[in-house]
Protein backbone atom coordinates (compact mmCIF):
# COMPACT_ATOMS: atom_id res chain seq x y z
CA UNK A 1 0.00 0.00 0.00
CA UNK A 2 1.48 3.18 -1.11
CA UNK A 3 0.49 5.34 1.81
CA UNK A 4 2.87 3.48 4.06
CA UNK A 5 6.28 4.90 4.44
CA UNK A 6 5.55 8.32 3.05
CA UNK A 7 4.52 9.88 6.31
CA UNK A 8 5.34 7.40 8.98
CA UNK A 9 9.02 7.46 9.73
CA UNK A 10 10.76 10.57 8.50
CA UNK A 11 9.35 12.92 11.09
CA UNK A 12 10.23 10.63 13.96
CA UNK A 13 13.83 10.06 13.12
CA UNK A 14 15.16 13.21 14.64
CA UNK A 15 13.35 12.46 17.89
CA UNK A 16 14.68 8.93 17.88
CA UNK A 17 18.20 10.15 17.30
CA UNK A 18 17.98 12.80 19.97
CA UNK A 19 16.48 10.26 22.34
CA UNK A 20 19.31 7.84 21.72
CA UNK A 21 21.87 10.53 22.40
CA UNK A 22 19.91 11.61 25.46
CA UNK A 23 20.30 8.21 27.10
CA UNK A 24 23.45 9.40 28.84
CA UNK A 25 23.39 10.75 32.38
CA UNK A 26 21.21 13.86 32.71
CA UNK A 27 24.20 15.92 33.85
CA UNK A 28 26.13 14.89 30.79
CA UNK A 29 23.32 15.86 28.44
CA UNK A 30 22.34 19.01 30.30
CA UNK A 31 25.73 20.63 30.07
CA UNK A 32 25.99 20.48 26.25
CA UNK A 33 22.40 21.67 25.96
CA UNK A 34 23.14 24.71 28.09
CA UNK A 35 26.34 25.41 26.20
CA UNK A 36 24.37 25.15 22.97
CA UNK A 37 21.81 27.66 24.18
CA UNK A 38 24.47 30.09 25.37
CA UNK A 39 26.34 29.88 22.08
CA UNK A 40 23.09 30.44 20.24
CA UNK A 41 22.27 33.52 22.33
CA UNK A 42 25.76 34.95 21.77
CA UNK A 43 25.53 34.31 18.06
CA UNK A 44 22.06 35.85 17.95
CA UNK A 45 23.18 38.90 19.88
CA UNK A 46 26.20 39.56 17.65
CA UNK A 47 24.37 38.81 14.42
CA UNK A 48 21.40 40.97 15.41
CA UNK A 49 23.70 43.92 16.01
CA UNK A 50 24.84 43.77 12.40
CA UNK A 51 21.45 43.60 10.74
CA UNK A 52 19.74 46.89 10.11
CA UNK A 53 16.23 46.95 8.76
CA UNK A 54 13.87 49.77 7.87
CA UNK A 55 12.29 49.18 11.25
CA UNK A 56 15.58 49.62 13.02
CA UNK A 57 18.09 47.13 14.26
CA UNK A 58 17.19 43.47 14.28
CA UNK A 59 16.26 42.66 17.90
CA UNK A 60 18.79 40.85 20.03
CA UNK A 61 17.98 38.77 23.11
CA UNK A 62 17.96 41.76 25.42
CA UNK A 63 15.45 43.70 23.32
CA UNK A 64 13.23 40.68 23.05
CA UNK A 65 13.34 40.14 26.79
CA UNK A 66 12.36 43.78 27.25
CA UNK A 67 9.32 43.21 25.06
CA UNK A 68 8.37 40.09 26.98
CA UNK A 69 8.15 42.23 30.08
CA UNK A 70 6.40 44.98 28.18
CA UNK A 71 3.77 42.56 26.85
CA UNK A 72 3.22 41.20 30.33
CA UNK A 73 2.77 44.72 31.61
CA UNK A 74 0.30 45.51 28.86
CA UNK A 75 -1.62 42.40 29.75
CA UNK A 76 -1.82 43.36 33.39
CA UNK A 77 -2.89 46.89 32.50
CA UNK A 78 -5.58 45.59 30.21
CA UNK A 79 -6.88 43.28 32.90
CA UNK A 80 -6.99 46.14 35.39
CA UNK A 81 -8.90 48.24 32.90
CA UNK A 82 -11.30 45.40 32.34
CA UNK A 83 -11.87 44.91 36.05
CA UNK A 84 -12.41 48.62 36.48
CA UNK A 85 -14.89 48.63 33.61
CA UNK A 86 -16.96 45.89 35.16
CA UNK A 87 -16.80 47.54 38.56
CA UNK A 88 -18.08 50.80 37.11
CA UNK A 89 -20.82 48.97 35.28
CA UNK A 90 -21.85 47.13 38.43
CA UNK A 91 -21.92 50.33 40.40
CA UNK A 92 -24.01 52.06 37.77
CA UNK A 93 -26.45 49.17 37.63
CA UNK A 94 -26.69 48.95 41.38
CA UNK A 95 -27.44 52.65 41.58
CA UNK A 96 -30.07 52.29 38.88
CA UNK A 97 -31.71 49.40 40.70
CA UNK A 98 -31.67 51.25 43.99
CA UNK A 99 -33.54 54.13 42.41
CA UNK A 100 -35.99 51.98 40.53
CA UNK A 101 -36.05 48.21 41.32
CA UNK A 102 -37.84 47.43 38.07
CA UNK A 103 -35.27 49.21 35.90
CA UNK A 104 -33.69 47.22 33.16
CA UNK A 105 -29.95 46.89 33.60
CA UNK A 106 -27.62 46.20 30.72
CA UNK A 107 -24.49 44.18 31.14
CA UNK A 108 -22.01 44.89 28.41
CA UNK A 109 -18.92 42.86 27.76
CA UNK A 110 -15.59 44.60 27.87
CA UNK A 111 -14.21 45.17 24.40
CA UNK A 112 -10.57 46.03 24.69
CA UNK A 113 -7.72 45.12 22.38
CA UNK A 114 -6.80 41.47 22.93
CA UNK A 115 -3.41 41.23 24.60
CA UNK A 116 -0.62 38.92 23.58
CA UNK A 117 -1.74 36.36 26.12
CA UNK A 118 -5.32 36.60 24.89
CA UNK A 119 -4.07 35.85 21.41
CA UNK A 120 -2.09 32.88 22.67
CA UNK A 121 -5.20 31.44 24.28
CA UNK A 122 -7.29 32.07 21.18
CA UNK A 123 -4.74 30.17 19.14
CA UNK A 124 -4.59 27.29 21.59
CA UNK A 125 -8.34 27.05 21.69
CA UNK A 126 -8.55 27.14 17.91
CA UNK A 127 -5.88 24.52 17.35
CA UNK A 128 -7.59 22.29 19.91
CA UNK A 129 -10.85 22.68 18.01
CA UNK A 130 -9.33 21.91 14.63
CA UNK A 131 -7.21 19.06 15.90
CA UNK A 132 -10.15 17.59 17.80
CA UNK A 133 -12.34 17.72 14.74
CA UNK A 134 -9.66 16.11 12.60
CA UNK A 135 -9.12 13.35 15.17
CA UNK A 136 -12.83 12.62 15.41
CA UNK A 137 -12.90 12.09 11.67
CA UNK A 138 -9.50 10.55 11.00
CA UNK A 139 -9.43 7.82 13.66
CA UNK A 140 -12.75 6.12 12.84
CA UNK A 141 -12.25 6.53 9.10
CA UNK A 142 -8.71 5.17 9.46
CA UNK A 143 -9.93 2.12 11.35
CA UNK A 144 -12.65 1.39 8.82
CA UNK A 145 -10.21 1.85 5.93
CA UNK A 146 -7.73 -0.45 7.61
CA UNK A 147 -10.42 -3.09 7.90
CA UNK A 148 -11.93 -2.74 4.48
CA UNK A 149 -9.62 -3.06 1.54
CA UNK A 150 -12.18 -1.79 -0.94
CA UNK A 151 -12.82 1.37 0.98
CA UNK A 152 -9.11 1.89 1.39
CA UNK A 153 -8.54 1.58 -2.35
CA UNK A 154 -11.38 4.01 -2.94
CA UNK A 155 -10.06 6.58 -0.50
CA UNK A 156 -6.36 6.23 -1.24
CA UNK A 157 -6.30 8.51 -4.30
CA UNK A 158 -8.24 11.15 -2.40
CA UNK A 159 -5.83 10.95 0.51
CA UNK A 160 -2.85 11.20 -1.84
CA UNK A 161 -4.38 14.18 -3.60
CA UNK A 162 -5.28 16.27 -0.58
CA UNK A 163 -2.46 15.35 1.75
CA UNK A 164 0.06 17.78 0.24
CA UNK A 165 -2.31 20.74 -0.06
CA UNK A 166 -1.17 23.85 1.79
CA UNK A 167 -3.55 25.49 4.25
CA UNK A 168 -3.26 28.74 2.35
CA UNK A 169 -5.01 27.17 -0.59
CA UNK A 170 -7.84 25.89 1.55
CA UNK A 171 -8.40 29.07 3.44
CA UNK A 172 -10.31 31.16 0.87
CA UNK A 173 -12.56 28.23 0.06
CA UNK A 174 -13.24 27.49 3.69
CA UNK A 175 -13.94 31.14 4.39
CA UNK A 176 -16.44 31.42 1.56
CA UNK A 177 -18.18 28.18 2.41
CA UNK A 178 -18.38 29.03 6.09
CA UNK A 179 -19.79 32.49 5.32
CA UNK A 180 -22.40 30.94 3.11
CA UNK A 181 -23.43 28.08 5.35
CA UNK A 182 -22.64 29.04 8.91
CA UNK A 183 -25.35 31.61 9.49
CA UNK A 184 -26.85 31.93 12.91
CA UNK A 185 -28.12 34.91 14.92
CA UNK A 186 -26.13 34.07 17.98
CA UNK A 187 -23.40 31.73 16.87
CA UNK A 188 -21.99 29.45 19.50
CA UNK A 189 -18.57 29.75 17.87
CA UNK A 190 -17.10 32.84 16.27
CA UNK A 191 -17.01 32.63 12.53
CA UNK A 192 -13.28 33.30 12.55
CA UNK A 193 -12.82 30.39 14.92
CA UNK A 194 -14.76 28.09 12.61
CA UNK A 195 -12.70 29.21 9.62
CA UNK A 196 -9.39 28.67 11.32
CA UNK A 197 -10.41 25.43 12.97
CA UNK A 198 -11.68 23.89 9.74
CA UNK A 199 -8.55 24.93 7.88
CA UNK A 200 -6.44 23.38 10.62
CA UNK A 201 -8.58 20.24 10.55
CA UNK A 202 -8.25 19.91 6.77
CA UNK A 203 -4.50 19.92 7.09
CA UNK A 204 -4.03 17.78 10.16
CA UNK A 205 -6.49 15.12 9.13
CA UNK A 206 -3.96 13.30 6.96
CA UNK A 207 -1.15 12.21 9.25
CA UNK A 208 -3.60 10.70 11.73
CA UNK A 209 -5.63 9.07 8.99
CA UNK A 210 -2.63 7.59 7.21
CA UNK A 211 -0.97 6.37 10.38
CA UNK A 212 -4.16 4.88 11.75
CA UNK A 213 -4.62 2.94 8.52
CA UNK A 214 -1.04 1.74 8.66
CA UNK A 215 -1.45 0.82 12.31
CA UNK A 216 -4.57 -1.21 11.67
CA UNK A 217 -3.23 -2.90 8.54
CA UNK A 218 0.02 -3.93 10.20
CA UNK A 219 -1.49 -5.58 13.26
CA UNK A 220 0.35 -8.83 13.91
CA UNK A 221 -1.16 -11.57 11.72
CA UNK A 222 -1.11 -14.00 14.62
CA UNK A 223 -3.26 -11.72 16.75
CA UNK A 224 -5.73 -11.42 13.91
CA UNK A 225 -5.77 -15.20 13.73
CA UNK A 226 -6.41 -15.42 17.47
CA UNK A 227 -9.40 -13.18 16.96
CA UNK A 228 -10.58 -15.24 13.99
CA UNK A 229 -10.27 -18.51 15.89
CA UNK A 230 -12.36 -17.10 18.72
CA UNK A 231 -14.74 -15.72 16.09
CA UNK A 232 -14.90 -12.44 17.98
CA UNK A 233 -17.70 -10.10 16.92
CA UNK A 234 -16.49 -7.11 14.90
CA UNK A 235 -17.02 -4.61 17.69
CA UNK A 236 -15.00 -6.67 20.16
CA UNK A 237 -12.38 -7.28 17.50
CA UNK A 238 -11.99 -3.54 17.01
CA UNK A 239 -12.01 -2.66 20.70
CA UNK A 240 -9.85 -5.46 22.04
CA UNK A 241 -7.48 -6.14 19.17
CA UNK A 242 -7.27 -3.50 16.46
CA UNK A 243 -7.37 -0.31 18.46
CA UNK A 244 -4.88 -1.33 21.15
CA UNK A 245 -2.57 -2.72 18.49
CA UNK A 246 -2.82 0.42 16.39
CA UNK A 247 -2.49 2.88 19.26
CA UNK A 248 1.26 3.42 18.89
CA UNK A 249 0.94 4.24 15.18
CA UNK A 250 -2.13 6.34 15.86
CA UNK A 251 -0.18 8.43 18.29
CA UNK A 252 2.63 8.88 15.85
CA UNK A 253 -0.01 10.28 13.52
CA UNK A 254 -1.68 12.38 16.17
CA UNK A 255 1.60 13.99 17.14
CA UNK A 256 2.41 14.79 13.53
CA UNK A 257 -1.09 16.13 13.11
CA UNK A 258 -0.90 18.41 16.09
CA UNK A 259 2.47 19.76 15.00
CA UNK A 260 1.12 20.36 11.49
CA UNK A 261 -2.04 21.91 12.86
CA UNK A 262 -0.11 24.36 15.00
CA UNK A 263 2.00 25.52 12.08
CA UNK A 264 -1.01 25.75 9.80
CA UNK A 265 -2.98 27.75 12.31
CA UNK A 266 -0.42 30.55 12.57
CA UNK A 267 -0.32 30.88 8.81
CA UNK A 268 -4.10 30.84 8.54
CA UNK A 269 -4.48 33.47 11.22
CA UNK A 270 -2.01 35.73 9.47
CA UNK A 271 -3.64 35.37 6.13
CA UNK A 272 -7.25 35.61 7.22
CA UNK A 273 -6.75 38.16 9.96
CA UNK A 274 -8.42 35.76 12.32
CA UNK A 275 -7.66 36.42 15.97
CA UNK A 276 -4.72 34.55 17.40
CA UNK A 277 -0.95 34.60 17.46
CA UNK A 278 -0.78 34.86 13.68
CA UNK A 279 -2.81 38.02 13.77
CA UNK A 280 -0.57 39.39 16.49
CA UNK A 281 2.43 38.90 14.23
CA UNK A 282 0.67 40.43 11.26
CA UNK A 283 -0.58 43.42 13.25
CA UNK A 284 2.86 44.11 14.58
CA UNK A 285 4.28 43.88 11.10
CA UNK A 286 1.72 46.35 9.80
CA UNK A 287 2.20 48.55 12.81
CA UNK A 288 5.84 49.00 11.96
CA UNK A 289 7.01 50.63 15.17
CA UNK A 290 10.54 50.36 16.45
CA UNK A 291 9.47 47.61 18.85
CA UNK A 292 7.59 45.58 16.25
CA UNK A 293 10.41 43.28 15.34
CA UNK A 294 11.15 42.49 18.95
CA UNK A 295 7.51 41.78 19.59
CA UNK A 296 7.33 39.53 16.56
CA UNK A 297 10.39 37.73 17.85
CA UNK A 298 8.58 37.17 21.14
CA UNK A 299 5.73 35.63 19.19
CA UNK A 300 8.14 33.43 17.24
CA UNK A 301 9.65 32.10 20.44
CA UNK A 302 6.22 31.60 21.97
CA UNK A 303 5.04 29.67 18.92
CA UNK A 304 8.08 27.42 19.19
CA UNK A 305 7.68 26.86 22.90
CA UNK A 306 3.99 26.09 22.61
CA UNK A 307 4.57 23.70 19.73
CA UNK A 308 7.16 21.93 21.83
CA UNK A 309 4.83 21.84 24.84
CA UNK A 310 1.96 20.46 22.76
CA UNK A 311 4.15 17.63 21.55
CA UNK A 312 5.23 16.82 25.10
CA UNK A 313 1.60 16.83 26.13
CA UNK A 314 0.75 14.28 23.45
CA UNK A 315 3.70 12.22 24.59
CA UNK A 316 2.38 12.20 28.14
CA UNK A 317 -1.01 11.15 26.88
CA UNK A 318 0.56 8.42 24.77
CA UNK A 319 2.46 7.13 27.80
CA UNK A 320 -0.80 6.97 29.73
CA UNK A 321 -2.77 5.02 27.15
CA UNK A 322 0.03 2.87 25.81
CA UNK A 323 -0.03 -0.73 26.99
CA UNK A 324 3.63 -1.21 26.22
CA UNK A 325 5.17 0.39 29.30
CA UNK A 326 8.59 -0.81 28.22
CA UNK A 327 8.56 0.97 24.89
CA UNK A 328 10.76 4.02 24.88
CA UNK A 329 8.50 6.86 23.94
CA UNK A 330 9.87 10.23 23.08
Amino acid sequence: MSVTGTMTQPDQRFEQASGRLGKLLPVKTLAPSIIGLVVFLLFWATAAGRIDTSLGQFPGPAMVWEQVQELAKEHRRSREKQAAFYKRQEKRNAAKLAKDPSAEVKIRAYTGQPTFLDQVFTSLYTVAGGFGLATLIAVPVGIICGLNRGLFLALNPIIQLFKPVSPLAWLPLVTMVVSATYVSEDPFFEKSFVNSAITVALCCLWPTLVNTIVGVVSVDKDLINVSRVMALPTSTHIRKILVPAAVPMMFTGLRLSLATGWMVLIAAEMLAQNPGLGKFVWDEFQNGSSQSLSRIMVAVLAIGLIGFALDKLMLLLQRRVSWDKNAVLR
Partner: protein, 301 residues
Amino acid sequence: MATSYLELSQVGIEFDSRHGKFRALDDINLSLDRGEFVSLIGHSGCGKSTVLNIVAGLHEATEGGVILEGKEVNRPGPDRAVVFQNHSLLPWLTVYENVELAVNRVFKGHKSKSERRDWILHNLRRVNMEHALDKLPSEISGGMKQRVGIARCLSMEPKVLLMDEPFGALDALTRAQLQDSLMAIQAELGNTVIMITHDVDEAVLLSDRIIMMSNGPAATISKILPVNLDRPRDRLALAEDREFVRLRHAVLEFLYGNKSEPVTPAATALTDDAAVDKRESITTEKNYRVTSGMRPLTAMA
Protein backbone atom coordinates in the same frame (compact mmCIF):
# COMPACT_ATOMS: atom_id res chain seq x y z
CA MET B 1 -18.73 -46.03 6.24
CA ALA B 2 -18.53 -45.30 9.93
CA THR B 3 -18.04 -41.61 10.48
CA SER B 4 -15.14 -40.55 12.61
CA TYR B 5 -15.03 -37.58 14.95
CA LEU B 6 -12.81 -35.45 12.76
CA GLU B 7 -12.16 -36.24 9.17
CA LEU B 8 -9.98 -34.66 6.53
CA SER B 9 -10.90 -36.05 3.16
CA GLN B 10 -8.90 -35.49 0.01
CA VAL B 11 -7.74 -32.12 1.21
CA GLY B 12 -5.55 -30.17 -1.16
CA ILE B 13 -4.60 -26.54 -1.34
CA GLU B 14 -3.07 -24.21 -3.86
CA PHE B 15 -1.67 -20.82 -2.94
CA ASP B 16 -1.35 -17.88 -5.28
CA SER B 17 2.27 -16.93 -5.20
CA ARG B 18 4.36 -14.52 -7.23
CA HIS B 19 5.34 -17.32 -9.56
CA GLY B 20 1.80 -18.43 -10.19
CA LYS B 21 0.02 -21.21 -8.39
CA PHE B 22 1.81 -23.11 -5.69
CA ARG B 23 0.39 -26.46 -4.68
CA ALA B 24 1.25 -26.97 -1.03
CA LEU B 25 -0.90 -29.97 -0.13
CA ASP B 26 -2.36 -32.78 -2.13
CA ASP B 27 -4.85 -35.48 -1.21
CA ILE B 28 -4.58 -35.47 2.58
CA ASN B 29 -6.80 -38.09 4.16
CA LEU B 30 -6.97 -38.48 7.90
CA SER B 31 -9.56 -39.57 10.45
CA LEU B 32 -9.37 -38.93 14.15
CA ASP B 33 -11.34 -40.59 16.90
CA ARG B 34 -12.70 -38.59 19.75
CA GLY B 35 -10.03 -38.10 22.40
CA GLU B 36 -7.21 -39.09 20.12
CA PHE B 37 -3.87 -37.33 20.20
CA VAL B 38 -1.98 -37.20 16.92
CA SER B 39 1.23 -35.45 15.96
CA LEU B 40 2.16 -34.13 12.57
CA ILE B 41 5.81 -34.42 11.80
CA GLY B 42 7.74 -33.53 8.69
CA HIS B 43 10.43 -31.27 7.39
CA SER B 44 10.15 -27.55 7.71
CA GLY B 45 8.00 -26.01 5.01
CA CYS B 46 6.29 -29.25 4.02
CA GLY B 47 2.83 -27.98 4.91
CA LYS B 48 2.11 -28.98 8.50
CA SER B 49 0.90 -25.57 9.53
CA THR B 50 -1.21 -25.40 6.44
CA VAL B 51 -2.98 -28.64 7.39
CA LEU B 52 -3.62 -27.27 10.86
CA ASN B 53 -4.85 -23.96 9.51
CA ILE B 54 -7.26 -25.72 7.20
CA VAL B 55 -8.71 -27.61 10.15
CA ALA B 56 -8.87 -24.37 12.10
CA GLY B 57 -10.66 -22.76 9.18
CA LEU B 58 -7.99 -20.10 8.76
CA HIS B 59 -7.20 -21.38 5.27
CA GLU B 60 -9.76 -22.66 2.85
CA ALA B 61 -8.95 -25.95 1.17
CA THR B 62 -8.90 -25.84 -2.61
CA GLU B 63 -10.18 -29.40 -2.83
CA GLY B 64 -11.74 -31.69 -0.29
CA GLY B 65 -12.88 -30.67 3.13
CA VAL B 66 -12.86 -31.11 6.87
CA ILE B 67 -15.74 -32.72 8.68
CA LEU B 68 -16.13 -32.38 12.43
CA GLU B 69 -18.88 -34.36 14.13
CA GLY B 70 -20.62 -34.86 10.83
CA LYS B 71 -20.57 -31.20 9.85
CA GLU B 72 -18.29 -29.59 7.34
CA VAL B 73 -16.21 -26.76 8.74
CA ASN B 74 -15.31 -23.85 6.53
CA ARG B 75 -14.70 -20.95 8.87
CA PRO B 76 -12.75 -20.49 12.08
CA GLY B 77 -14.53 -21.02 15.35
CA PRO B 78 -13.87 -21.56 19.04
CA ASP B 79 -14.73 -25.26 18.73
CA ARG B 80 -11.31 -25.64 17.08
CA ALA B 81 -8.95 -23.73 19.34
CA VAL B 82 -5.40 -23.10 18.21
CA VAL B 83 -2.30 -22.86 20.36
CA PHE B 84 0.10 -20.85 18.24
CA GLN B 85 3.82 -21.36 18.29
CA ASN B 86 4.65 -17.92 19.62
CA HIS B 87 1.88 -17.93 22.24
CA SER B 88 0.02 -15.02 20.58
CA LEU B 89 -1.30 -13.56 23.78
CA LEU B 90 -2.64 -10.05 23.43
CA PRO B 91 0.18 -7.98 24.90
CA TRP B 92 -2.14 -5.29 26.26
CA LEU B 93 -4.25 -7.70 28.29
CA THR B 94 -3.21 -9.36 31.53
CA VAL B 95 -3.01 -13.12 31.89
CA TYR B 96 -6.49 -13.13 33.38
CA GLU B 97 -7.95 -10.85 30.72
CA ASN B 98 -6.46 -12.91 27.91
CA VAL B 99 -8.37 -15.95 29.11
CA GLU B 100 -11.38 -13.82 29.95
CA LEU B 101 -11.68 -12.67 26.34
CA ALA B 102 -12.07 -16.27 25.21
CA VAL B 103 -14.37 -17.24 28.07
CA ASN B 104 -16.66 -14.28 27.52
CA ARG B 105 -16.85 -15.07 23.84
CA VAL B 106 -17.91 -18.65 24.42
CA PHE B 107 -19.85 -18.57 27.71
CA LYS B 108 -21.46 -15.16 27.93
CA GLY B 109 -25.15 -15.87 28.26
CA HIS B 110 -24.52 -19.44 29.42
CA LYS B 111 -22.60 -18.81 32.58
CA SER B 112 -23.07 -16.06 35.13
CA LYS B 113 -20.37 -13.51 35.78
CA SER B 114 -19.08 -15.29 38.88
CA GLU B 115 -19.24 -18.66 37.16
CA ARG B 116 -17.17 -17.26 34.33
CA ARG B 117 -14.66 -15.89 36.83
CA ASP B 118 -14.37 -19.28 38.50
CA TRP B 119 -13.99 -20.94 35.14
CA ILE B 120 -11.16 -18.60 34.12
CA LEU B 121 -9.37 -19.24 37.41
CA HIS B 122 -9.96 -22.96 37.09
CA ASN B 123 -8.33 -23.07 33.69
CA LEU B 124 -5.38 -20.99 34.79
CA ARG B 125 -4.95 -23.33 37.74
CA ARG B 126 -4.87 -26.28 35.35
CA VAL B 127 -1.71 -24.89 33.80
CA ASN B 128 -0.31 -23.64 37.13
CA MET B 129 -0.62 -20.00 36.25
CA GLU B 130 -3.02 -18.78 38.92
CA HIS B 131 -0.18 -16.89 40.59
CA ALA B 132 0.26 -14.44 37.73
CA LEU B 133 -3.27 -13.27 37.02
CA ASP B 134 -2.48 -9.60 36.80
CA LYS B 135 0.80 -9.89 34.93
CA LEU B 136 1.12 -8.72 31.36
CA PRO B 137 2.53 -11.21 28.85
CA SER B 138 5.73 -9.17 28.65
CA GLU B 139 6.27 -9.78 32.35
CA ILE B 140 6.26 -13.59 32.24
CA SER B 141 8.57 -16.17 30.68
CA GLY B 142 8.06 -17.89 27.35
CA GLY B 143 6.97 -21.12 28.99
CA MET B 144 4.45 -19.29 31.12
CA LYS B 145 3.05 -17.50 28.09
CA GLN B 146 2.57 -20.82 26.37
CA ARG B 147 0.80 -22.14 29.47
CA VAL B 148 -1.59 -19.20 29.37
CA GLY B 149 -2.12 -19.81 25.66
CA ILE B 150 -3.07 -23.39 26.45
CA ALA B 151 -5.38 -22.26 29.26
CA ARG B 152 -7.04 -19.84 26.88
CA CYS B 153 -7.74 -22.67 24.45
CA LEU B 154 -8.89 -25.14 27.11
CA SER B 155 -11.24 -22.53 28.55
CA MET B 156 -13.20 -22.54 25.31
CA GLU B 157 -13.86 -26.29 25.69
CA PRO B 158 -12.98 -26.91 22.07
CA LYS B 159 -13.92 -30.08 20.28
CA VAL B 160 -10.45 -30.18 18.77
CA LEU B 161 -7.29 -28.66 20.15
CA LEU B 162 -4.83 -27.64 17.44
CA MET B 163 -1.26 -26.96 18.45
CA ASP B 164 1.32 -25.57 16.06
CA GLU B 165 4.76 -26.36 17.45
CA PRO B 166 3.56 -25.24 20.85
CA PHE B 167 6.84 -25.88 22.63
CA GLY B 168 9.24 -25.30 19.75
CA ALA B 169 10.54 -22.03 21.07
CA LEU B 170 11.16 -23.23 24.62
CA ASP B 171 14.25 -24.61 26.28
CA ALA B 172 14.43 -28.38 26.84
CA LEU B 173 13.61 -28.27 30.55
CA THR B 174 10.57 -26.03 30.19
CA ARG B 175 9.47 -28.08 27.23
CA ALA B 176 9.55 -31.28 29.28
CA GLN B 177 7.51 -29.65 32.05
CA LEU B 178 4.91 -28.46 29.60
CA GLN B 179 4.75 -31.85 27.90
CA ASP B 180 4.03 -33.45 31.27
CA SER B 181 1.38 -30.84 32.03
CA LEU B 182 -0.20 -31.45 28.66
CA MET B 183 -0.25 -35.21 29.20
CA ALA B 184 -1.92 -34.76 32.57
CA ILE B 185 -4.54 -32.43 31.14
CA GLN B 186 -5.13 -34.73 28.23
CA ALA B 187 -5.59 -37.69 30.60
CA GLU B 188 -8.14 -35.71 32.57
CA LEU B 189 -10.12 -34.07 29.78
CA GLY B 190 -9.69 -36.49 26.91
CA ASN B 191 -9.24 -33.73 24.34
CA THR B 192 -8.91 -34.49 20.68
CA VAL B 193 -5.57 -32.99 19.72
CA ILE B 194 -3.57 -32.41 16.59
CA MET B 195 -0.09 -31.22 17.41
CA ILE B 196 2.67 -30.22 15.07
CA THR B 197 6.14 -30.89 16.32
CA HIS B 198 9.72 -31.01 15.21
CA ASP B 199 10.75 -32.96 18.23
CA VAL B 200 10.86 -36.71 17.72
CA ASP B 201 10.79 -37.56 21.43
CA GLU B 202 7.88 -35.26 21.97
CA ALA B 203 5.93 -36.87 19.16
CA VAL B 204 6.46 -40.38 20.51
CA LEU B 205 5.86 -39.42 24.12
CA LEU B 206 2.57 -37.63 23.59
CA SER B 207 0.87 -39.20 20.61
CA ASP B 208 -1.48 -42.03 19.89
CA ARG B 209 -0.46 -41.79 16.27
CA ILE B 210 2.31 -39.97 14.47
CA ILE B 211 1.43 -38.63 11.04
CA MET B 212 4.50 -38.29 8.88
CA MET B 213 4.32 -35.94 5.96
CA SER B 214 6.28 -35.99 2.76
CA ASN B 215 8.18 -32.96 1.59
CA GLY B 216 6.42 -30.33 -0.44
CA PRO B 217 5.38 -29.14 -2.88
CA ALA B 218 2.18 -31.16 -3.08
CA ALA B 219 2.96 -32.69 0.28
CA THR B 220 0.83 -35.50 1.55
CA ILE B 221 0.74 -38.05 4.34
CA SER B 222 3.33 -40.66 3.57
CA LYS B 223 3.18 -42.81 6.69
CA ILE B 224 1.19 -43.15 9.87
CA LEU B 225 2.88 -44.65 12.89
CA PRO B 226 0.65 -45.94 15.71
CA VAL B 227 2.13 -45.48 19.16
CA ASN B 228 0.93 -48.25 21.41
CA LEU B 229 2.57 -47.28 24.66
CA ASP B 230 0.62 -47.55 27.89
CA ARG B 231 -0.60 -44.41 29.56
CA PRO B 232 0.22 -42.70 31.80
CA ARG B 233 3.61 -42.41 30.21
CA ASP B 234 6.73 -41.60 32.14
CA ARG B 235 9.59 -40.07 30.22
CA LEU B 236 12.28 -41.59 32.44
CA ALA B 237 10.95 -45.13 32.26
CA LEU B 238 10.34 -44.83 28.54
CA ALA B 239 13.87 -43.74 27.77
CA GLU B 240 14.93 -47.37 28.24
CA ASP B 241 11.76 -48.87 26.85
CA ARG B 242 12.40 -51.00 23.75
CA GLU B 243 9.14 -50.10 22.07
CA PHE B 244 9.77 -46.40 22.67
CA VAL B 245 13.25 -46.67 21.23
CA ARG B 246 11.92 -48.56 18.23
CA LEU B 247 9.25 -45.94 17.54
CA ARG B 248 11.69 -43.12 17.96
CA HIS B 249 14.05 -44.81 15.56
CA ALA B 250 11.25 -45.30 13.06
CA VAL B 251 10.50 -41.58 13.05
CA LEU B 252 14.17 -40.67 12.71
CA GLU B 253 14.49 -43.18 9.93
CA PHE B 254 11.59 -41.57 8.15
CA LEU B 255 12.96 -38.07 8.56
CA TYR B 256 16.59 -38.69 7.65
CA GLY B 257 16.82 -42.29 6.53
CA ASN B 258 16.66 -41.88 2.78
CA LYS B 259 19.60 -39.46 2.67
CA SER B 260 23.00 -40.54 1.44
CA GLU B 261 24.82 -39.41 4.59
CA PRO B 262 24.31 -41.21 7.90
CA VAL B 263 22.33 -39.59 10.66
CA THR B 264 24.49 -38.25 13.44
CA PRO B 265 23.43 -39.48 16.88
CA ALA B 266 22.92 -35.93 18.10
CA ALA B 267 20.26 -35.35 15.51
CA THR B 268 17.32 -36.35 17.64
CA ALA B 269 15.33 -33.23 17.14
CA LEU B 270 14.75 -30.84 14.34
CA THR B 271 13.93 -27.46 15.69
CA ASP B 272 12.89 -24.48 13.62
CA ASP B 273 14.38 -23.34 10.35
CA ALA B 274 16.85 -20.99 11.97
CA ALA B 275 18.38 -23.69 14.10
CA VAL B 276 18.52 -26.03 11.16
CA ASP B 277 20.28 -23.44 9.07
CA LYS B 278 22.81 -22.90 11.81
CA ARG B 279 23.59 -26.56 12.22
CA GLU B 280 23.89 -27.03 8.52
CA SER B 281 26.43 -24.26 8.28
CA ILE B 282 28.50 -25.88 11.00
CA THR B 283 28.52 -29.46 9.78
CA THR B 284 28.33 -28.61 6.07
CA GLU B 285 26.85 -32.05 5.68
CA LYS B 286 23.58 -32.50 3.93
CA ASN B 287 21.97 -34.32 6.84
CA TYR B 288 19.06 -31.96 6.86
CA ARG B 289 17.08 -30.93 3.96
CA VAL B 290 15.60 -27.54 4.31
CA THR B 291 12.86 -26.97 1.87
CA SER B 292 13.19 -23.47 0.66
CA GLY B 293 10.41 -21.26 -0.55
CA MET B 294 8.31 -18.66 1.11
CA ARG B 295 8.62 -18.38 4.83
CA PRO B 296 5.63 -20.01 6.47
CA LEU B 297 3.13 -17.66 8.01
CA THR B 298 3.48 -19.21 11.39
CA ALA B 299 7.24 -19.05 11.55
CA MET B 300 7.38 -15.73 13.30
CA ALA B 301 8.86 -16.65 16.65
